[in-house]
Amino acid sequence: MSDEPFDKEEFVAYFRDEAEELLQQIDGDLLRLEEFVDSGQADPEIVNSLFRALHTIKGSSGMLGFTEVQGLAHKLENLCDLLRKERMPLSEGSVEFLFSGRDFLTDLVQAAIGQSAPPSGLNEFTGRLDQFVAIYNETSNVIEGKAPDRGEGGSPAGSEPMNEAEIAAFEAEIERMLAEAAATATPAAPVVPAESAPAPAAAKPAPARGNGESADAKKGAAQGKRSSLAQTIRVDIDRLDALLNLVGELVINRTRISDIATTLGRLMGDRALNASIGLIGPLSKDLADSAALLARTTNEIQESIMKVRMVPIGQVFDRFPRTVRDVAKARGKEVQLQISGADTDLDKTIVDEVGEPLMHLLRNCVDHGIEAPDERERQGKPRMGTIALNAYHEGNQIIIEISDDGGGINLDKVRAKAIKNGLIGTEDRLTDRELIELIFTPGFSTAEEVSDVSGRGVGMDVVKRNITKLKGIFDVDSAPGQGTRFTIKLPLTLAIIQALLVRVVDELYAIPLDSVIESQRVEMPDVRTVHGSEVITLRGQVVPLLRIADFFELGGERDPEKVMIVIVGLQGRQVGLVVDSFEGEQEIVIKPLSDVVGRIPGISGATILGNGSISLIIDVHSLVSDAYAGGKVTRAEFSGV
């Protein structure tokens, strides 16, 4: 690597980040451009912004030799140039055409950096693109022969100027062809014909980061974004991780030094020790003071470094207006997406992971939640449905809410479907809450027909699983006829957690404290069996037991008199993990196990303790669901997993 003239990989990584950002910006610009379709006149500021973004992509892809990306960016740039010089009218067709171009460009960038196969249908698209640019160039040249004030520069083509009627007819013809091309060349979502009403989806652009929400500041948003960019630097996440690792070490040693100081202080207090104490006494006090100071500073460093890793969740939200727009168009619905709290910060790793589940929920809202415009009108609601996406901090958590003003979850349908699928019997009486819980069952979907948007039956269970993986909580509220609200609560960071240390056979394991409800010592006679599985009764509730030593195949002898139990909560149910002894609580730094080790069920990572030894971190969720799948916990007690 070092003997190469320059590190291409680094440039490619930089290109990828930059392109992602720019493509996102293009998306936003196009969405805003779409609002001007009615007036037929584009805001020159937006068109210029589009032009600049395409131009940057063209430049950097050229530098890295990604000629296909460069080529398409160049062609789209030409198209924008026509808009900019007002040689092409702004219409739904032309915006749609730009949208497809942007999608092709995204695919090409992905392909260029080796993340996916090159998109199909590209040649056809670029062919049409060339054709239109050529036609418009020619037209405007002709027009300019008569009205040179409409364009800037460009020599008249010397042919006979056309009369107004001819020009109008020509433009109408081109408009028709444009719409046709856009309809056939769009790679992703199907597009409604151009003659239908312009979809007002996603009317509001996401507010600029850090600027709060100023709905009218279309230009201000762009400028605010630029100035905030000037004060940030791009740092490789690996470097931050390395820093965080070091801070982790510091935290561990801080704990250790505090321990030593405490122990020493206790020994000092023991009068039985010999006379030389008089000399060490002040030193011991100094150590204690110093340890306290170290602890404080370390905490501050740790907090600061966590803050560095924080990014505004708006990074994820940015791509949603486009998704909502596309899905709404495809389903013939009118939907507006209102975003607030885009500047709420949370850990980069969580931001990266939370995008997919949120996207899925939004698609669900549009597809299942919001009713068709006519249906809404019949119910006395505005034709346009509203989806609100909101994020805010609450204590040590971030809350993300997605709510719609659609029809709500149809409980009768859920019930009928559950009976059909054999999930519940016809006689079972379930509360509304329990019925809603059913939609998290794998393979459950009430959509009457399978669509490409949602309703494939993989969905809500996957969303829930992903949120749970992030140590988050997922909740649904629904009122018939009034709408549905999804609430997601996520921890601000995943890197440092409070954990309960337990000993099992010879090893120490750490159980994340957020899933621990309580720990108890239970006498053996109080442990009963149900269908061969051990259970205890805790405040009237039957709690199944899971012996960690058995699950991890550690061997070891069972205590015939008592069991030490850590009660963990999982999706509202409780499971008792049987360990050998409790070893106290500690703040631990999560380190992933090397991918060479592979994924181990029941283990989410490891941590290094103050004395340098390693403790594995128990992944409560996968432990319990794996034990359940393996028949180690009976279904009767644990139907929740």
Partner: protein
């Protein structure tokens, strides 16, 4: 074809010699390219990882870094041996992966001239030949030259396979 591959391998090494760290494993002598060796440490406490593949001894704490440890004997289908005073962990750096391998003892650094290296015999008892680069002759000794990246790549595959099995 083998000869061509060997030509390529030879070109990877600077000059005319293979520079290898040699170690013993069950009565045989092995060598790994010195550029893949990060450091050699004495046996430390290994934290067992439950339900990991059999050859995965566990993880160690190397100055604050978690390093997975592979028992090369198990990996090569030999009997597991008790750790002795001479047991060592060779910490290797392959690509971005840092892995420790447990060996019976580490001998020395050897320079083996290219002309003294032969292709691996088609079948070597107990070991698949994909990670054997060749056999080096030093006086009367035979040094089996290992490509550690191959040992670890196929390692991973096995690890993944066993996880899949566990999931089923």
């Amino acid at each position: 074809m083998m000869a061509e591959q060997r030509e390529e391998k030879k070109q990877q090494y600077s000059g005319e010699t293979f520079q290898v760290v040699s170690f013993r494993l069950g009565g045989e002598e092995y060598g790994v390219d010195i550029s893949q060796v990060q450091e050699i440490i004495r046996m430390v406490e290994i934290t067992h990882v439950p339900r990991a593949p059999r050859f995965m001894e566990g993880v160690i704490n190397l100055r604050g870094q978690l390093i997975p440890i592979i028992d090369l004997r198990t990996r090569f289908g030999m009997n597991r041996a008790d750790h002795t005073k001479s047991t060592r962990i060779i910490v290797t750096d392959i690509g971005s992966k840092r892995v420790g391998i447990v060996v019976d003892s580490v001998s020395e650094v050897l320079n083996i001239p290219v002309e003294n290296v032969e292709d691996a015999p088609e079948m070597v008892a107990g070991i698949g030949t994909e990670y054997i680069q060749g056999v080096g002759k030093v006086d009367t000794r035979l040094i089996i030259l290992l490509d550690l990246s191959k040992v670890i790549t196929s390692e991973e595959k096995q690890a993944l396979d066993s996880v899949d099995e566990a999931a089923e």
